[in-house]
């Protein structure tokens, strides 16, 4: 309760400036607080990578099955490796990682292949199955799930569908990589016991091809994906897979995107499924198939020259020499 006083013009101006200063101060504090919202210290976790269980006489197996019946092709491809029970135990949490980076069906894992994989995995009766994805930067993952029919498959088999871009549980995990010493991903990914990568066989404008190894970029937050492109995409793909190596890869080569990619390209129908416990081996074979479909000469040599494959093999993620890989091919019809 102040009695009224004579206020001089100078005092009034002083109060005005004071008010503006307070406002600017509040604005700055708020701005800095926004920047610091991410916790300063995130504990760096470790993850043990399993050895490839689908080997014969020390050689990783790669199965190639051709057939119009997708469900049968996927089952046969996995059985040729030794069967799903070699990998999954009854108390495992299984993460299925299809490629749902885009909203057009040509660029993503076909829902039929995902459904076939789910049925095979269910035979091993794991504790829990989840499907997770973080779409390409600039795209909405949930929209992709719905537009491509992946959401319907998850609903039909009653499997938890996770839009990683909506998750706030970011964790950091140590890698054995050259460039990236730790990787940011999500708690939902870290907690999985078994990772099954279900990529689509495609060309890629920057990475040359995108198959199992590149598909693992879908477990990253958008900021981490950006970092990959800023540093060195090929090296970072290899580094990522040193800690988050898929335990089983089932490659959807029913329709292959050739010539260009990863969003649009020339689609070639081949009705093929590839499977392997070694992502480097199956990516090598897959890349060779793409080059063959494009009619390029020396397809295997071209595949050998893909930088991310070379780096990944060098870091021990998998085997790249074709004579150290056992290929099993089968035609169904």
């Amino acid at each position: 309760m102040n009695p009224p006083q004579r206020i001089s013009r100078r005092d009034f101006i002083k109060m005005l400036i004071g008010g503006a200063a307070v406002a600017i101060g509040i604005g700055m504090v708020w701005h800095v607080w926004e920047r610091l919202k991410r916790p300063a210290e995130i504990e760096i976790l470790e993850r043990k990578v399993k050895e490839n269980v689908f080997v014969e006489n020390g050689k990783p197996l790669v199965s190639i099955v051709r057939g119009k019946d997708v469900k049968k092709a996927v089952k046969v491809a996995v059985d040729l490796l030794g069967g799903i029970n070699k990998l999954i135990k009854s108390d495992d949490v299984v993460l299925l990682k299809p490629n749902v980076g885009f909203s057009n069906i040509d660029a993503v894992t076909t829902p039929e292949v995902l459904a076939a994989v789910i049925e095979v995995v269910k035979e091993a009766n794991p504790k829990k199955i989840v499907i997770a994805e973080s779409a390409v930067r600039g795209r909405d993952t949930t929209f992709n799930f719905n537009a491509t029919g992946i959401a319907k498959v998850a609903e039909k088999y009653e499997i938890e569908l996770i839009d990683l871009k909506k998750s706030k549980n970011v964790v950091k995990v140590k890698t054995r990589g050259k460039l990236l010493k730790e990787i940011s991903t999500y708690r939902e990914i870290y907690d999985a016991d078994v990772i099954i990568s279900i990529p689509k066989l495609k060309r890629h404008v920057e990475a040359v091809t995108t198959i199992s190894l590149k598909n693992m970029m879908g477990i990253l937050p958008d900021s981490e994906k950006g970092l990959f492109h800023d540093l060195n995409l090929h090296q970072c793909i290899a580094d990522l897979n040193t800690v988050f190596k898929p335990d089983l890869c089932i490659v959807d080569a029913t329709h292959v995107m050739t010539v260009s990619g990863p969003g649009r390209g020339k689609m070639v129908k081949t009705n093929t499924i590839l499977a392997s416990g070694d992502p480097v081996a199956v990516d090598l074979i897959g890349s060779k198939i793409i080059f063959e479909l494009e009619g390029l000469d020396k397809p295997l040599e071209r595949a050998y020259n893909i930088p991310y494959l070379k780096e990944a093999a060098g870091l021990g993620v998998g085997v790249m020499e074709v004579d150290k890989i056992k290929l099993i091919e089968k035609e169904l019809d």
């Binding site: 009224p4 909203s103 390409v136 930067r137 920057e206 950006g226 492109h229 995409l233 090929h234």
Partner: protein, 213 residues
């Protein structure tokens, strides 16, 4: 205590008349839009007249905070305050090839028809501009995320150019932008990993509706 007498009042009345005349002389509505408007926006002059700055379009776009629309502040220009704008850095516009296609909640929410319904093929919010010096592809290579994420065939393509790096001439792949095909959704801007962004969404070439009433 300050007492106001008749003389003061005359001063106030004169001041108001002067203010009014000055406002009339100097207050101009911009004809071209500096900011990118929501889909279905009518031509800018009419838009600024019709828009009552209620913010309903912004609320409809961002029910969970994930939408692109924001209200203009004083830095966008006094006559634009409170009107909606697209901010691709926050999120791209989903009106085409996205979750709002065929739905357009912003248009549905507008009470004064400053935003009107448009068919998907008519939507063009603007076009994108490339800032070469900031682009990772141009500076060191290894990034074409804008090309990857662009949903429109032909809006962004890849070009191989020869640049000089450390005394050697090398080939790098850089993006090439076609503003005529671009729909201005801003997905490329949102996706660009460069900091600061190498892409800017502008209102150039925006298709605005001519109101007929």
């Amino acid at each position: 205590m300050i007492r106001l007498n008749r003389r003061e009042f005359i001063k106030i009345i004169v001041a108001s008349v002067v203010m009014g005349t000055l406002a009339k002389l100097f207050f101009r509505l911009p004809k071209e839009s500096k900011v990118v408007r929501p889909p279905g926006a009518i031509v800018e002059e009419e838009f600024l007249n019709k828009c009552i700055r209620c913010g309903k379009c912004v609320a409809a776009c961002s029910t969970d905070g994930s939408g692109t629309l924001e209200t203009c502040g004083y830095l966008d220009g006094l006559s634009l305050v409170g009107t909606p704008k697209v901010n691709p850095i926050k999120a791209p516009c989903e009106a085409l090839f996205g979750k709002c296609e065929g739905v357009l909640p912003c248009v549905k929410a507008c009470p004064t028809k400053a935003l009107v319904w448009v068919e998907p093929h008519q939507i063009k919010l603007g076009s994108v501009e490339w800032i070469k010096e900031r682009c990772i592809a141009f500076r060191k290579g290894g990034c074409l995320v804008c090309y990857e994420t662009c949903p429109v065939d032909g809006a962004i393509s890849v070009k191989e150019i020869i640049v000089e790096r450390h005394g050697k001439f090398i080939k790098v792949k850089v993006p090439e932008f076609n503003p005529d095909v671009c729909i201005g959704c801003g997905r490329c801007v949102n996706a660009c990993p460069a900091a600061p962004k190498a892409l800017v969404l502008t209102s150039k070439g925006a298709r605005r509706v001519i109101p007929r009433d």
